[in-house]
Symmetry: C2
Subunit: 125 residues, 2 copies
Amino acid sequence: MATKTYPETTPEVDALVAEVIARVADRWTMEVLEALTQGGTMRFTRIGEAIPGVSQKMLTQTLRQMERDGLVIRTVHPVIPPHVDYELTPLGFELSEAFCGVWMWAEKNCKVVAKARARFDGRAR
Amino acid sequence: MATKTYPETTPEVDALVAEVIARVADRWTMEVLEALTQGGTMRFTRIGEAIPGVSQKMLTQTLRQMERDGLVIRTVHPVIPPHVDYELTPLGFELSEAFCGVWMWAEKNCKVVAKARARFDGRAR
DNA sequence: CTGCATCCGAAATGATACTG
DNA sequence: CAGTATCATTTCGGATGCAG
């Protein structure tokens, strides 16, 4: 954006980028990224506890997609009861760092946004 | 994330941050951000042309939300046919810069992700 | 404990038609 | 040109039950 300067992007690559962005910008994906970044290697249930509001189904689904995309490593310890660890790959960690800026923006400006909304909604009437 | 160190965050603020992140990390929001960052002040139709696959409905909706959140300014010129300009606010521009890292990550790694998927899908069978 | 399968209602989105 | 309104469809997401 401000400093991005890519001379040549084919339509196919653009589409792929858009698709990856759409996937990665998913709400739960971002929260999992955050949880694993802060918590290191974590078990399934602990990740769920770290993310308020996520259902087991969405968590499973999100972790699977992230595994498929090469963002996390899933390690199954063949014991009873099951023990499954998740951790970020280097690729996932890079993404997490990339999102860092967005996170800080949100934490810094969430109240500014709240005020903008209040003003907008006030004008609307 | 990697460098984030916020000592105190109340649950209410966390929820607000999560909400703002979820809103702002929307696929179309990011694409509009990208378009306006690169194109400066743009008209409705031109933004739509710059974003492959967006429907008129989603574009309208996204721009309204962004206006409400204080990310863009919408200027209506009262002429016939209508002429409406959109441009980023300073807040919107800041967000755009924050997203820069994610865009670069995606452009740099979209093929890596594609390969990871292929490998995963191969193992699946 | 982890997580898959299924069902079902709710919400998001796309297509289309219409308007100032 | 820049929307709004409506309808059809898809997708999302939660709840539940079951399995290894």
